[in-house]
């Protein structure tokens, strides 16, 4: 099967600034693909190059096997839903939607009837004679969508299409967009800076930063196995515990504590252990601990730790068994609590490090007041060891 979009070695420079730095990317036919990254990471530039609104400085860009890198936008089988929609303010909704067909020389009556069908498809029936200024943000968004879809593009490009909508509407549109894409079977390439949006909507996603492509994969792959520190930090919430690789399954944190963390980085590599707040268990200190030998509230468990090597942190030899069960565990104190409604996020301090722990707000969930000594533990398979 031919890829919908095939980008090979694309670089885009604006003067001295490298906006997109030698990226390779393949987007399959019928795929919902998200380009994710912070502002200025090159995601929009990449989208604009696919649309033909920017020309690559270098590299090859194919759409369904045809090289299009040097074609103007009107010669490409793609359409764009622009950020803030870019609806023509002097045309009503119907004329906005019919615009592309008319420009392609479709007969007027055909163009209008197809435009009306598409307006129905995006659930805007009856709004066709309104000017964009007479439509709400959500309705404008739908017109923009219809204006692009009516041309039956082979790939639909969306540049932060939901960015201007309020939360409720955004969530609603996320579902609708996803449904629409599945029904139409067309590839959607979706630019967003909202990692949650990318995770919930896309089949596959690419994370970009500073013009470089950092990781491509399914949302699950990226969330569970971030390729590096940036991806781990950018996608979802995480605790990054700085340290150094000791061996294939151990990381020595910068306070000397050792935790289990599987990685194939060479010994001595500076890494961070990424622990997701929702993967961390929180319990009262001492509970499930066979012995209480900690000295100053900074106890670290680790199967490979020699008690003598850890300075300022008492290692509890008796918890060796616990470590193999719990994987890793630190003792600390609750510093503050953020109430999120459906969950509470505890900031737990141990030494100078802070770990955020997210606990679902279930009935009967224990509330740990600030100042409470607690014990924090997690499963070693729940962490990822990431380098820069």
């Amino acid at each position: 099967m031919t890829a919908a979009v095939e980008i090979t070695g694309i670089t885009k420079r604006f003067g001295d600034v490298v906006a997109v730095d030698n990226i390779d990317l393949t987007i399959a036919d019928g795929e919902f693909f998200a380009l994710l990254g912070p502002s200025g990471c090159g995601k929009t530039t990449t989208l604009r190059m696919i649309a033909g609104l920017e020309f690559p400085t270098q590299g090859s860009l194919k759409i369904f096997g045809d090289e299009v890198g040097t074609l103007p936008p009107n010669k490409r089988p793609v359409n764009t839903v622009f950020q803030n929609y870019a609806l023509f303010p002097h045309l009503n909704a119907l004329d906005n939607v019919a615009f592309g067909l008319k420009m392609q020389g479709v007969k007027k009556s055909t163009a209008y009837s197809r435009a009306l069908e598409t307006i129905d498809l995006v659930q805007l029936s009856g709004m066709d004679t309104r000017k964009p200024s007479e439509l709400s943000g959500g309705q404008q968004q739908r017109v923009a969508l219809a204006r692009a879809l009516v041309n039956q593009p082979k790939v639909l490009l969306l540049d932060e299409p939901l960015g201007a909508l309020d939360l409720k509407l955004r969530q609603e549109m996320q579902g609708e967009l996803k449904n629409l894409q599945q029904n139409l079977g067309v590839s959607f390439v979706f630019v967003t800076h909202d990692q949650e949006e990318a995770l919930t909507m896309s089949d596959r996603m690419a994370v970009m930063n500073e013009g470089k492509l950092l990781q491509v994969g399914t949302p699950e792959e990226i969330y569970e196995h971030p390729a590096n520190r940036f991806v781990a930090d950018f996608i979802g919430q995480t605790n990054l515990l700085e340290g150094r690789v000791v061996d294939a399954e151990t990381v020595c944190l910068s306070n000397g504590a050792r935790v289990t963390g599987f990685s194939d980085h060479p010994v001595g590599t500076e890494v961070a252990v990424s622990v997701r707040p929702e993967r961390v268990r929180l319990g009262p200190r001492g509970e499930s601990r066979p012995s209480e030998t900690e000295v100053d509230g900074t106890a670290v468990d680790g199967a490979t730790v020699d008690a003598a090597t850890v300075d300022g942190a008492a290692v509890d030899g008796a918890t060796v068994d616990a470590a193999t069960v719990d994987g890793a565990r630190v003792d600390g104190e609750v510093e503050s609590i953020t109430y999120l409604g459906n969950a509470r996020v505890y900031r737990v301090r141990f030494d100078w490090m802070v770990i955020e722990v997210r606990e679902e707000n279930r009935p009967g969930a224990t509330l740990h007041e600030p100042g409470t000594p607690v014990s924090v533990s997690w499963d070693p398979s729940a962490v990822s060891v990431v380098a820069d």
Binding site: L53, N74, N79, H90, F99, M103, A148, N151
Partner: protein, 301 residues
């Protein structure tokens, strides 16, 4: 903002409808005071002379070249249908229209170019556009007389390219050339302002929706810049129609236009009522054009 003075009970901190009404009154009073100087100026030096012109247009010229403010009649307006007056009227309209069109065609691409430059380049070029205003209008028109006249640079060029000794001076072409030169900035500035305001992503969107460059201009840029086209056209058409200096200096006696004809009525022919009637009709034509143009533009927007 300074605090609004309370109408009566200054110690009251609770908002009342009376307080609100007083605040609104004070706001509108302040606006009126700010506008008062220009209001008075306009009434004194614009409205009053205008009324005088209208009154004179119904008066009678006496045998000595003076004006009798009695025996009111429409004789001056009746003269407008005389062939010579009609010719002058149509010639003036035609040249003003031509000037406007040429200005539009020249100014539009330039204004677009200007609107798409970086701010530094933009400002620099706007200064260039305004430089001619720093020299006296009359002097600049005389300069054109030198350029277009006998043995001037223009004839040098026509000779050099083998067209022989051509002289443009004292022709309609020269007048249009001079008018375009004089009023071009009045077309560029509003067009620039209008185009600059247009979201350039709309042009990208049109290209994305299969419009060619020309279609993009025709269907998106031009309709959206219509306010600038209208404002610029009025700013060029109106002064071109009543132009006096340029046609007088570059047009010579063969191409009398409305402006010069009116001046002649007042200074040479000493027929003030007729001159006043001509002025009034000219103004009415301009006003109608403006209103119609605005209305039409307003509908298409």
């Amino acid at each position: 903002m300074t605090a609004v003075e309370l109408p009566s009970d200054a110690e009251s901190a609770v908002a009342t409808p009376e307080f609100e009404a007083a605040a609104i009154r004070q706001e509108s009073r302040r606006g009126f005071l700010l506008a008062l100087p220009s209001y008075s100026y306009l009434v004194l030096f614009f409205a009053v002379p205008l009324v005088i012109v209208v009154v004179y247009s119904f008066a009678t010229r006496n045998r000595f070249g003076g004006t009798d403010l009695s025996g009111w009649n429409l004789a001056s307006y009746a003269r407008l249908s005389e062939p010579i007056v009609r010719d002058i009227l149509f010639r003036s309209l035609w040249l003003a229209l031509l000037t406007t069109l040429i200005c539009l065609v020249i100014a539009y691409p330039f204004a677009y170019y200007l609107a798409t430059r970086t701010p530094v380049v933009r400002n620099l070029m706007l200064v260039f556009v305004m430089i001619p205003f720093w020299t006296n209008f009359l002097v600049r028109n005389y300069a054109w007389r030198v350029i277009l006249g006998n043995d001037g640079p223009f004839t040098d060029v026509t000779e050099a390219v083998g067209l022989g000794e051509r002289e443009l001076l004292f022709s309609k072409t020269a007048v249009v050339l001079g008018l375009v030169y004089s009023f071009l900035p009045f077309m560029i500035l509003p067009l620039y302002a209008a185009i600059e305001r247009i979201d350039k992503r709309l042009l990208e969107a049109s290209r994305d929706l299969y419009a060619s460059g020309w279609q993009s201009f025709r269907k998106v840029l031009l309709p959206l810049s219509m306010p600038g086209v209208i404002a610029g056209s009025i700013l060029v058409f109106v002064p071109s129609l009543g132009a006096y200096v340029t046609p007088d200096i570059l047009g010579g006696s063969k191409t009398t236009l409305l402006g010069s004809y009116i001046v002649t009525q007042f200074l040479t022919a000493r027929n003030w009522p007729f001159g006043a009637a001509l002025s009034f009709v000219l103004m009415a034509v301009m006003l109608t054009t403006t209103v119609v143009y605005f209305r039409k533009g307003g509908r298409t927007l």
